[in-house]
């Protein structure tokens, strides 16, 4: 009966509304647009315009050598491919991004699990692990380059705990340089990822975990079967942000290896910088366009897939 009364009470109001409109809708929409306007302007000026410009210049011969800009179609990409720069930079960027994403999320999730409960000690450690996020990437890179020097503290420590002298050039060999720099990038941002995972873990209803415990589920089982599935929104955010961020990496690489040894850590953005610094603005734009395409083609499908995994609570 209560339901019927409520229905009856609402009907006259609905009848007074103009067809197809809500009474409150027009005012709310204007209100929303007013709030969204600054963001829309910023996105337009700092993303849409540069993207359009970048896409245009990627197909133009534009260099400091000449005042003339010429539409050359795919020539910039052909040249970059001819000198082996394009494929190599894409491969290196992909390996770097995946490594940084895996390390960042692995470390972040482990730390979040260990520091989930809010307490004095955990709060101190949360702050400690967040400090690298606040350090300038260039400063972090220079510090790590010194730490990982052949005769630096890292090798000195290993020499102290391992038999014999340990003088490995972490940044001096192709594979180890790439993995090491990606790990430095991951180290720098793990604190942020940790906070997101902690928020995700604290969002899981305690009753669900207690019920599982009563049913005899151990810590591992609770983690794999309850916590991890319910952490899906945090995973979506962290994986996407860390991967996309790593695609655009430059500063940490620059301050540790500058793209070397040889071209072992020459990511797309390092190659962009190099081309731009030599007045080849068209080829630099082409490489930059590839970065944008990689981000879009990776992030959109991945987010779509990860969102499907999310479980409503």
């Amino acid at each position: 009966m209560t339901t019927n009364k409520a229905t009856i009470a609402v009907r006259p109001l609905e009848k007074r509304r103009p067809a197809g409109r809500s009474l409150m809708y027009p005012r709310r929409r204007a209100y929303q647009y007013a709030f969204a306007l600054p963001a829309i302007c910023l996105v337009f000026v700092f993303f849409v315009l540069p993207f359009v410009a970048n896409a245009f210049f990627a197909f133009v011969r534009w260099t400091g050598y000449s005042s003339t800009l010429t539409w050359t179609g795919l020539d910039n990409f052909r040249l970059l491919d001819q000198v082996g720069l394009l494929r190599h930079a894409i491969t290196v960027t992909a390996i770097y991004a995946v490594t940084a994403m895996v390390v960042q999320n692995g470390v972040g999730l482990a730390l979040a699990t260990a520091l989930q409960r809010t307490g004095r000690v955990n709060s101190v450690f949360r702050s400690v692990f967040f400090v690298p996020v606040l350090i300038s990437p260039l400063a972090a890179g220079y510090i790590w380059a010194a730490v990982l020097d052949d005769h630096g503290p890292a090798n000195a420590f290993l020499s102290a705990v391992l038999p014999g002298d340990f003088h490995y050039a972490w940044l001096g060999h192709d594979t180890s340089a790439l993995l090491t720099v990606a790990s430095i990038d991951a180290w720098k941002l793990s604190g942020l990822v940790t906070l997101v995972y902690i928020a995700g873990l604290n969002r899981i209803p305690e009753q669900v975990l207690q019920a599982a415990t009563l049913d005899g589920a151990g810590a591992w089982r609770r983690f794999w079967s309850i916590k991890l599935p319910l952490l899906a929104p945090a995973v979506t955010f962290n994986v996407t942000v860390s991967l996309v961020g790593a695609f655009s990496a430059l500063d940490v690489v620059f301050s540790t290896t500058a793209g070397g040894p040889g071209d072992a850590t020459t990511l797309l953005n390092v190659a962009v910088y190099t081309q731009y610094g030599q007045s080849f603005f068209g080829t630099a734009s082409a490489l930059s366009f590839v970065v944008t395409l990689m981000v879009i083609l990776t992030a959109v499908p991945m987010m779509s897939w990860l969102r499907r995994r999310e479980v409503p609570m």
Binding site: S66, L79, G277, S279, F280
Partner: protein, 442 residues
């Protein structure tokens, strides 16, 4: 459907606005017209503020020269600091936006002058008195199409081999003259001075490997710019399997495979290699004379210690020939800005720097003058070695004239890191040269 129909219009507006912004921002397309000759008529204006983009590595003597000009002219020089570490890329970036200083300190190499389209964007300084005093240098520094667009007063950058005198004495060796000497000395040094790197490379800075892998080797091939000319007129290619460039890279690769380089060759930096040769941890370093300042600094200004420890010689493929290039420090262009008063004042600065203020600058800088008619001041011992190597027939560094060689640093570093063969590096440099040459002809 309504929303969908709205999108094409919005996209079109967005593209139109974007492309309008693009054309407005593309500095290259709005550059000043070419062929503008420097005006030296009448008295120079006073009370003008001139913007000078300068390298932060400028010596105190150069900074004092700017002050001396301000005092003499009544004009003000507003220095815009460009960090030495990122000097070329920062200048290129600012230049690409259409920004122009009234005076630009920039590399004199023809390839660098081309990269800023000097013929289209700078004033032609060919009729100024300094050109005659510069002599042959005016035809290679800041020179494009037979016209001189730059005044070069900074010390030339002379490349060769720095060697540690004590290490060589201990090994019973004489300074090298050829690449065969380098290979032979390497063997002896490895046997007699263990723990000392025969040759110290600095792949971590990327640009130093260029010197030993090509510039030094090719010095003798580039007498009167012979090798440059053959590349530029298409008679030879950098990638020719039997050409000098591949031979240079191969000689370098042999030194690498013979274990002549330091163990941290791929990560060590320019600063490390100069310190190593001063401290006797390295027997030899292939570098240019710009590094002497760093050596003096490493020795806390004790130039006598530097002179007692380090010597310099020219080394080429088969004979002792050094190679040189104009330094970006103390090389000045006058961009065409369209402001005739400031252009006239900027030319006045060039006239002062190469005229009334030049002798005092050389005296304070204690460098070898680039303009005739000025007495060479007393030079420190190491710089005397450099002058001797230069006077014995140094040739222009072969990369100075060939566009596209900005990529050679990373490419030679790949050779050092054993990522590419000499032939592969040469093929890529040929492609980069063709890219730049095509752009320059556009």
């Amino acid at each position: 459907m309504r929303n969908f129909r709205g999108r094409p219009g919005m996209l079109a507006a967005m593209l139109a606005f974007g492309l309008a912004a693009v054309s407005a921002c593309s500095g290259g397309s709005t550059a000043a017209p070419s062929g503008k000759v420097a005006n030296t008529e009448g008295a120079a204006p006073k009370g003008v503020t001139l913007t000078l983009w300068h390298n932060t590595a400028d010596s105190k003597a150069l900074l004092d020269l700017y002050k001396a000009y301000e005092k003499k002219s009544g004009n003000t020089i507003k220095l815009v600091d460009i960090p030495a570490d990122s000097f070329p890329s920062t200048v290129q970036t600012k230049w690409a936006t259409g920004a122009r200083p009234d005076i630009l300190e920039w590399h004199g190499n023809r390839t660098d002058a081309l990269s800023l389209n000097a013929a289209g964007t700078m004033l032609d300084l060919s009729k100024l008195p300094f050109v005659a005093k510069e002599g042959d240098l005016a035809t290679v520094s800041g020179s494009v199409g037979g016209k001189t667009y730059a005044a070069t007063i900074g010390a030339l950058s002379i490349s060769g081999i720095f060697y540690n005198k004590q290490v060589f004495a201990k090994a019973g060796l004489q300074p090298p003259q050829t690449y065969d000497d380098l290979a032979a000395d390497c063997k002896v040094l490895k046997a007699k001075t263990p723990g000392v790197a025969p040759l110290f490379e600095a792949g971590g800075s990327q640009w130093p490997p260029q010197i030993l892998s090509a510039f030094n080797y090719l010095a003798e091939s580039n007498e009167n710019q012979a090798y440059d000319t053959s590349i530029l007129n298409g008679k030879a290619k950098l990638s020719d399997a039997d050409g000098p460039f591949v031979a240079a890279l191969t000689a370098y690769d042999k030194l690498r495979t013979a274990g002549c380089f330091n163990s941290d060759r791929t990560t060590a930096k320019w600063e490390d290699q100069m310190k190593a040769v001063l401290d006797g941890k390295a027997a030899m370093v292939a570098q240019n004379s710009d590094s002497i300042g760093l050596l003096n600094s490493d020795a806390n200004g004790d130039t006598a210690k530097v002179d007692a420890s380090v010597g310099f010689v020219g080394v080429s493929a088969t004979k002792a020939v050094a190679n040189y290039a104009p330094s970006p420090l103390g090389t000045y262009y006058v961009p065409s800005t369209g402001d005739s008063e400031k252009e006239r004042a900027a030319v006045d600065f060039i006239e002062f720097a190469t005229g009334a203020g030049y002798a005092d600058y050389i005296k304070e800088a204690k460098i070898i003058p680039t303009l005739s008619g000025t007495t060479t001041p007393e030079l420190q011992g190491l710089l005397q070695d450099v002058k001797k190597a230069y006077d014995q027939g140094a040739t222009l560094s072969f990369n100075s004239e060939i566009p596209g060689f900005g990529n050679f640093g990373p490419e030679s570093s790949k050779l050092l890191a054993d990522q590419e063969s000499p032939q592969q590096v040469a093929a890529k440099m040929q492609a980069f040269y063709q890219q730049a040459a095509a752009a320059a002809k556009q």
